[in-house]
């Protein structure tokens, strides 16, 4: 029927051939080469059931969720993206895994807006299409398109690359014997002066790049971005739930969810599946309490909105803990079981340390060999009727209590928690939170009225604070008090996956297939996973360290940059940015990073891999054209929200620009040119080549097959094809085991974080606290940040239709909301004389120039708070004109609209070159900055 089909854009039909084979010169990208670009879509659509289209099953990366994806391809052009109907990521009731792919055409999974708009990121006319080398100074945005041969030669061999003097290349820095500093040999060899910093780097790509950086090149400095996301959430969770870094409510069976700053339906991942689970939870009558200073999507669906002040979540949780303990509303049976066996008698799979004795003198658990009870150093000690006893020998132990055992003064963990929660009254907690005391009592009462079917969930909101780790722990402990871990309807570790690296029983134990593997050595430039006390600096200078060390966390993104900027503990020679934009992302640091990156003396060589000329990569020496996620490989698992087995595969749907190259292939090429071990014809061992990314990924997919053990097919190739034809291995069944989850933590879960309590803060020399506490915003030297005269607190959030720095190139998303706003409470705005749409300025003590944007006044923002959604406020990413080979490539101004409040946020002036941060979990503080709000 001619009336209903969009048959008016015929010109697009031939696009596929053009895109696939013609190497487009950068400046020629116009609507002539992508004719339907102005309509947003690369080609005319065809029905899924049409035999002329084929499907490629892959995995999305429109946000972090990794939803299973299906691309519809016609003549080499991806014309539509949908969810993968085999996967529980995109359908509550996916089709049977054995379904023939021909039948699967009739069903499509669900996909959110940014997922669908991936087409526009793939076919973005402003993508980098050839290696670019800067001409002129860094940041002038003038480039020369060069060949890969030239790019590799210059990056590897160095030389007088820019007419500014000699620059060391990878080969020169690849020195495993010369120490960076002979006076501080612990820093490691010169090779560590090559620093690889990724923003998002997906699992399985991460391992290949680590293989290069850590174990072939031999630099210890491989990093990804997690502290700029929500690392303190992972670290807090892992320190409570036996190393498991991410748990989620069992949405299907929980009765009450108290959500601390996890933005279901917007940001919290997997956003697609979580939205469905939230909707179904509510329809079934599940009760939702949302804690957030912003009236979020989750708040709008909640029974109760608790609009606390940013950074006060720990005060709320400790107030609740106090009330729950005072009113004996905790799960006594769970908490008083001191061992696995005692827990099993009560039908529990995990058990707690609530009854364990902690030494007052050194903050360690009292051990059996110290207590004079004939135990060993592996035994914990409890009180039974006030008398010390080995935990393993007791079926029930005292919760509250203190004792002197064998002359050692101790208290139980429960006692310590109780005392901590009582250090402030409920009135004081209420004042800190900025809510009535009655609301703390009310939510504590509601939360503790559903037994094990009440779950406290959290994500980024409560932890991107200087108190983030401790706050995260208070929320974990709310779950401990309910005894809900591993329970159906409780807090649970989610579905299962298969080890793509083959670590368990895979056919290819890929990490071990690395002849000549180098053992990396030294101290990371971020000082993470290392103790300051072991350094030469400490021996010379004592406390405080020049910049904080992070013994309890990893991937401290902002401190990789801080370390590079300060040359501490040593200078970097080569910085490689992959899918990373620290100047855009790290709070408060935009201008400081740009100024430092502009200086080749500070960082002699900056290499970047990007799909566009990015906001930060425009300051690089080289931009190497990366491929988009729709042109990539990966092997992945799923978030714990999704129950059942998910082992996802990402595979290329197309390859738009011939010169674009995956970062995997770049490192394979470079390794081969440098003769590094673990790559090339015998990269995995004799006769086992690693010459291209498929050599890596097909082994990983084969590992899925060998571990799952139920993939049809006589040969490995047939089994791999079976998996690729479905985009992974999915098995939704068997999530439960009676009243428990099938996948369990099944371990000692800890209210007391012994490792934290026995670790020293490099800036103060004091031990961190093993029982979580509330404290106000503090700098690295533990000074309270007050900033009088800066009366508002700035926060950020993410909408359902944008992700981070990387979706502004998709017109389908920007037309939903062409610009963003500085949002504040309407009464606050009225007091300041603002009208909706006025230009206003937000600034902090350390960024007095601040940012300017249009104000939006709404009732759904807590008074005293301003918030700005992320993803806007780009200064490049295609927003401005660039010069390539002397010709101007016109930018697209729509990408430069709106405001990024990150640039106005507080820097930690006590050490400089970094935002405020959490010294335990490592997170950046996004929500602690005191700001001034005024008319622009």
């Amino acid at each position: 029927m001619k009336t209903t089909r969009r048959n008016f854009i015929k010109a697009a039909a031939a696009l596929g051939a053009t895109m696939a084979i013609s190497p487009l010169a950068f400046g020629n990208i116009t609507q002539k080469t992508i004719p339907s670009w102005s309509e947003g879509s690369p080609a005319e659509d065809v029905l899924d059931t049409d035999p002329s289209v084929s499907f490629v099953y892959s995995t999305c990366l429109g946000c972090r969720s990794d939803c299973s994806l299906r691309g519809k391809v016609k003549d080499g052009v991806v014309i539509k993206l949908d969810g993968n109907p085999y996967s529980p990521m995109t359908l509550n009731d996916p089709i049977k895994y054995s379904t023939d792919p021909k039948e699967a055409r009739k069903v499509a999974g669900k996909l959110c807006p940014r997922g669908q708009a991936g087409l526009q990121i793939l076919y973005d006319p402003l993508r980098v299409q050839q290696p670019l080398k800067r001409v002129g100074k860094r940041g002038e945005n003038k480039w020369q398109a060069i060949s890969w041969d030239q790019a590799y030669k210059e990056i590897i061999e160095g030389g007088n690359l820019f007419g500014e003097g000699n620059v060391e290349g990878l080969r020169s820095v690849h020195d495993l014997s010369t120490p960076i500093d002979p006076d501080a040999p612990e820093l490691g060899p010169k090779a560590n002066q090559f620093v690889f910093l990724a923003g998002r780097i997906e699992n399985s790509r991460a391992e290949l790049v680590k293989r290069f950086v850590n174990n072939s090149f031999g630099s210890i400095n491989w990093f990804e971005h997690t502290t700029v996301c929500e690392q303190s959430h992972h670290i807090a969770t892992a320190n409570t739930f036996a190393g498991k870094g991410h748990l989620k409510p069992d949405f299907e069976n929980a009765k009450l969810i108290m959500n601390f700053g996890a933005n279901y339906g917007e940001a919290n991942f997997p956003m697609n599946g979580l939205s469905r689970k939230l909707a179904d939870f509510r329809i079934k009558g599940g009760r939702l309490i949302t804690v957030d200073p912003r009236f979020s999507v989750s708040a709008s669906h909640a029974d109760v909105w608790v609009p606390i002040l940013p950074g006060s979540d720990a005060a709320l949780a400790l107030g609740m803990i106090q009330w729950i303990m005072d009113n004996k509303r905790y799960d006594k049976s769970f908490l008083e079981a001191p061992s696995k066996d005692a827990a099993a008698l009560r039908g529990e799979s995990s058990w707690s340390d609530a009854t364990y004795l902690v030494r007052t003198d050194n903050g360690k658990y009292l051990r059996g060999d110290e207590a004079g009870l004939g135990g060993t150093k592996d035994d914990y000690v409890v009180l039974v009727g006030g008398t010390p006893s080995l935990a393993a020998a007791a079926n029930t132990a005292d919760l509250a209590g203190e004792a002197t055992a064998n002359g050692i003064a101790c208290k139980t963990v429960f006692q310590l928690l109780s005392e901590r929660s009582k250090e402030r009254s409920l009135d004081e907690y209420a004042k800190i939170c900025g809510i009535p005391k009655e609301q703390i009592v009310s939510v504590a009462d509601q939360f503790s009225s559903y037994g094990k079917l009440a779950v406290a969930d959290f994500y980024r909101g409560p932890v991107q604070h200087t108190n983030g780790f401790q706050t995260g722990r208070t929320i974990c402990i709310l779950n401990m008090l309910m005894g809900n871990v591993d329970h159906r309807g409780g807090y649970q570790s989610g579905g299962s996956t298969l080890s793509y690296m083959g670590d368990k029983n895979g056919k290819y134990q890929v990490a071990k297939l690395h002849p000549g593997s180098v053992k990396m050595k030294g101290i990371r430039i971020s000082r993470e996973k290392a103790n300051y006390e072991d350094s030469t600096e400490f021996k010379k200078n004592g406390y405080p360290a020049k910049r904080p060390w992070f013994p309890l966390t990893g991937d401290v993104y902002q401190e990789v940059v801080g370390g590079v900027l300060d040359g501490y503990p040593y200078p970097a020679k080569i910085l490689w940015l992959h899918m990373a934009t620290p100047a855009y992302s790290i709070p408060g640091m935009k201008d400081r990073i740009i100024n430092a990156f502009k200086d080749p003396k500070k960082i002699p060589l900056i290499i970047s891999t990007d799909i566009v000329i990015g906001d930060t990569t425009m300051f690089a020496d080289y931009i190497l054209p990366d491929v988009t996620y729709l042109e990539q490989w990966n092997a992945l698992g799923a978030a714990p929200t999704i129950l059942g087995l998910v082992a996802d595969v990402r595979q290329p749907m197309t390859h738009v620009f011939p010169q674009a190259k995956s970062v995997e292939n770049m490192f394979i090429d470079i390794a081969k040119k440098m003769n590094l071990p673990g790559f090339g014809d015998n990269g995995f061992g004799a006769g086992m080549p690693l010459n291209k990314e498929e050599d890596w990924y097909l082994k990983l997919v084969a590992n899925f097959a060998s571990q799952y053990g139920k993939i049809p097919g006589a040969t490995e190739e047939a089994q791999v094809k079976y998996i690729l034809d479905r985009g992974g291995v999915f098995d939704s069944g068997g999530a439960y085991d009676g009243s428990m989850m099938k996948n369990k933590v099944a371990s000692l879960c800890t209210i007391y974080a012994e490792k934290v309590a026995t670790t020293k803060d490099s800036m103060t020399g004091k031990n961190f606290d093993g029982i979580p506490q509330y404290y106000p915003v503090r700098d690295a030297k533990d000074q309270i940040v007050k900033d009088n005269g800066y009366d508002f607190i700035a926060t950020t959030y993410k909408q359902a239709f944008h992700s981070h720095s990387r979706t502004i190139s998709a017109p389908w998303l920007t037309e939903i909301q062409p610009e963003n706003f500085i949002e504040m409470n309407n009464d606050d705005g009225a007091k300041l004389g603002f009208k909706d749409g006025d230009m206003i300025k937000v600034s902090s003590l350390s960024n007095k120039e601040g940012v300017k944007g249009k104000v939006r006044l709404r009732p759904g923002i807590r008074p005293g708070v301003v918030t700005v959604c992320a993803s806007y406020g780009h200064w490049h990413y295609g927003a401005i004109d660039s010069v390539i080979d002397g010709k101007t490539v016109a930018g697209d101004k729509r990408r430069g609209t709106g405001v990024n409040i990150n640039f106005a946020l507080r820097v930690d002036d006590s050490i400089g070159n970094v935002c405020l941060e959490d010294k335990i979990g490592g997170s950046c503080s996004f929500y602690d900055s005191r700001v001034k709000v005024e008319k622009a």
Binding site: T3, G40, L47, Q116, M271, I283, N826, I861, R862
Partner: protein, 198 residues
């Protein structure tokens, strides 16, 4: 009995993500700046007593559509199954239908210069597929089907849930049914109510 298509949108489930809007763009290649379906949002109340109203909008495929008879060239027509469609070859772009639609559901396609609106993805229905917006609705708020089929989800929802339609007073008899809609949100342009910018 023949089919009678209708859509039920359960606002208790909607998260306002705009997946429906983008799916429509992708499926139907709707030009930038114009929309066959979209989501209006409105926040009301006074802190801390705040509400959010979301209203996914599209052509209501009304039983008695006011766009039908105003068309001077009979380009707009209605199928037996209730779907209101436009014959783009007949359409002269006079905009009478746009003025007549009480739901702002129609616009001029800037490329083709004819009137355009939601078609329920009719070609997908004919192939046994759901409309693109329904298929992709991540929270499952959108349900589409045949009101004449007692086994259909839309039939069951209408039989069991209180529903509203937008602007019943127009006598268009719209076939988009909302569960959980706030009365004041059921206007064609939410922001008109509060005087904000569209």
């Amino acid at each position: 009995m023949g089919k009678r298509y209708a859509m039920v949108i359960d606002l208790r489930k909607c998260v306002g993500c705009h997946a429906c809007q983008v799916a429509c763009k992708s499926e139907n290649n709707v030009p930038l700046g114009v929309f066959r379906n979209w989501v209006d949002e409105l926040e009301t109340g006074k802190f801390p007593n705040v509400s959010r109203h979301r209203l996914p909008r599209l052509c209501n495929h009304s039983e008695n559509p006011s766009c039908l008879n105003v068309c001077p060239v009979k380009a707009t027509y209605q199928l037996e199954d209730g779907t209101v469609l436009i014959d783009y070859d007949r359409c002269i772009g006079c905009k009478y239908c746009i003025a007549a639609c009480p739901y702002d559901a129609r616009f001029i396609n800037p490329v083709r210069k004819t009137a355009e609106k939601c078609t329920y993805c009719h070609e997908r229905l004919e192939a046994g597929l759901q409309p693109a917006c329904v298929n992709t609705c991540i929270s499952g708020a959108r349900v589409f089907g045949d009101l004449n089929d007692p086994t259909s989800e839309v039939f069951k929802l209408l039989a069991t849930q209180p529903v509203n339609v937008s602007k019943p007073e127009t006598n268009n008899r719209p076939q988009t049914y909302y569960i959980g809609a706030d009365q004041k949100a059921l206007r064609p342009n939410l922001l008109d109510i509060v005087g904000g910018e569209k």
